[in-house]
């Protein structure tokens, strides 16, 4: 693998001019936060890319060594702040794994609904920002409008619009209010046509296809090698989703649901929904596929939410109460990855018998997803940089922790 990489190190040029070092970020509009990328360019052609991260480093792991697991939960919201619920869920499940605790069926149903709603919200931001990075502002506003409705639902259920702190280890702070599921379904019903509109303005748009198809191709071997996960990995044609392939404590949440892992297997997507066609220019693993996988996952999440609401309403069990704030952790370490919208979000907790973890490790999905950026961006044009970066869908809060 090293040898292959060495070979691709050289970029072919027709005409060589003076090289230029150029700083993209940390205040660049399309680096999704405070990522800094140093480009070595020859004209418009990028010959070398060096990402510099750490501008948003907030010592999240060090903070965790001072707080109990329940107290640390609000900090997980700040990792991938676009999918706070999924971060909460990952932390909660890891704590439960360490404690050897299982939550009730009903709580698991609620967790699926909430986590999938937030997945939709996160993918909407990804889709909107993708459009924005390609210069199309309007879909960004549309996706944020839809996200706003999800955020309203979250505000109703947990009282916050961004940092939810809702799915706690052991349970939830409070059950959904009356009529919440009705509003949730109403949202899904009105949201469905919006997906088609997004397909019309982005996915199927000739310019969008030209800008993204065949750009930043990430072959499956390389994706696995770099530890890319989530939609980035699946867009490369790897059929891997922790909701199905993960550890039992996580996958049991999704038992009994009908849904599909979205990945282009042999260039084909699952056909349980009238998706727009794949353009012939698109290569599996390119930016277009990464975008498309997210758009299709939104549909799958909608299926999951609908089924979850049905199951939740049919279930007459009880919602669990969260753990005590100073609950003692057993000795030992537990590592669990969950399928967050951006990829596999892993938490490791090392317990030493007290309430405060000895060490917490956060394995962030975007951190791994962005690491092949130098490979993906070698030899592209400057204009492709935002497209590739947007297709990786990074959140700097998670990368820098």
């Amino acid at each position: 693998m090293q040898a292959e990489r060495a070979k691709s190190d050289t970029v072919e040029f027709d005409v060589r001019t003076d090289e230029m070092l150029i700083n993209m970020g940390p205040q660049h509009p399309s680096t999704h936060g405070v990522l800094r990328v140093v480009l070595r360019t020859d004209g418009e052609v990028v010959s070398e890319v060096t990402p510099h991260i750490g501008y948003l480093h907030r010592s999240a792991e060090k903070i965790a060594e001072k707080l109990t697991v329940r107290q640390y939960l609000p900090f997980t919201d700040r990792l991938d702040y676009l999918a706070g619920m999924n971060m909460n869920l990952g932390w909660a499940l890891t704590v439960e794994k360490l404690l050897g605790q299982r939550v009730s069926e009903k709580t698991r149903r609620l967790r699926v609904i909430i986590a999938e709603l937030n997945r939709i919200a996160s993918h909407l931001v990804a889709a909107g920002c993708f459009g924005l990075d390609l210069g199309s502002f309007t879909p960004f506003m549309w996706t944020f409008r839809e996200r706003e409705k999800i955020v309203d639902l979250f505000e109703e259920i947990c009282g916050a619009r961004l940092t939810y702190s809702y799915l706690l280890p052991g349970g939830v702070t409070a059950g959904p209010p009356d009529g919440w599921f009705g509003r949730c379904e109403a949202f899904l019903d009105q949201f469905e046509p919006v997906i088609d509109e997004l397909h019309a303005v982005l996915t199927n748009n000739a310019i969008f296809i030209k800008r993204t198809a065949g750009i930043g191709v990430l072959p499956p071997e390389m994706a696995i090698d770099y530890g890319c996960t989530g939609p980035v990995l699946r867009a490369s044609g790897v059929d891997w989703d922790l909701r199905r392939d993960g550890e039992p404590i996580y996958t049991e949440m999704y038992d009994g649901y009908t849904w599909q892992v979205i990945a282009p297997i042999n260039g084909r997507y699952p056909d349980d929904h009238p998706y727009p066609p794949v353009p012939p220019e698109a290569v599996v693993g390119d930016s277009w596929h990464r975008f498309f996988v997210r758009m299709l996952e939104v549909v799958q999440s909608m299926y999951l939410i609908r089924q979850g609401i049905e199951k939740y309403s049919a279930d007459d069990g009880e919602l669990d109460k969260p753990i005590e704030i100073r609950k003692k952790l057993p000795k030992g370490e537990a590592y669990l990855e969950t399928e967050a919208p951006k990829g596999q979000m892993g938490f490791m907790i090392v317990g030493d018998g007290s309430a405060v973890p000895w060490r917490v490790r956060i394995r962030s999905s975007s951190f791994c997803n962005i690491s092949p950026l130098p490979e993906l961006c070698r030899g592209v044009l400057i204009a492709d940089m935002p497209a590739i970066l947007a297709s990786l869908d990074i959140v700097l809060g998670e990368i820098d922790r």
Binding site: M1, G54, D225, Y226, G227, A334, Q344, M348, R363, D400
Partner: protein
């Protein structure tokens, strides 16, 4: 394949490098010695029945109690522990590898402990090892780009170590 089977498979070629294991832990782990790490890693990745193609995470845990009163009670000797979380997309199994290191090389404070890099085996390790170096102070031999990653280049110390003290000033910026 569970950790016990994997251990049995590793036993044959790498017996001297396997230093310990715990199959009953929440995440079963195998402890290997640092010098044999790259070869074991390569074996784990390339062996067809193992096929550990994904390295999820490289972590270090600092076992050191700065508080002397508490330090008397702890049951371990001060050391650093590197933890590698592996899994396989083909075989769908998981494994945790551990490498124990001294906190300082040759017990000389300030000399970072060294361990061979596995970034040649899994590219994930590239950035993760940089992060471990940055925050925990472990030198990875043979790493292609051994720089800090989250902290600035000129940062002093390794913040995730238990005895780390936050500087009061950084380039004239008051830090506390």
């Amino acid at each position: 394949m569970n950790a016990r089977n994997i251990y049995d498979l590793l036993l044959q070629p790498f017996r001297p490098w396997l230093l310990g294991h715990d199959f009953e832990a929440i995440d079963p782990w195998i402890e290997v010695s640092g010098e044999g790490l790259p070869e074991i890693a390569r074996f784990l990745r390339d062996q067809d029945e193992l096929a550990f193609d994904v390295l999820h995470c490289v972590t270090a845990v600092d076992y050191f109690e700065p508080d002397e009163k508490k330090a008397a009670k702890v049951e371990w000797q001060p050391h650093l522990e590197l933890i590698y979380h592996l899994s396989s997309t083909k075989r769908r199994h998981r494994l945790v590898l551990k490498v124990k290191l001294p906190r300082w090389k040759d017990d000389r404070p300030g000399e970072l402990p060294e361990v061979p890099s596995v970034s040649g085996v899994w590219s994930t390790a590239d950035w993760h090892e940089r992060e471990v170096f940055d925050l925990m102070g472990v030198r990875f031999l043979g790493h292609p780009d051994p720089r800090r990653i989250l902290c600035p280049e000129d940062w002093e110390g390794h913040p995730l170590r238990k005895d780390y003290r936050m500087p009061t000033e950084y380039h004239g910026i008051q830090a506390r």
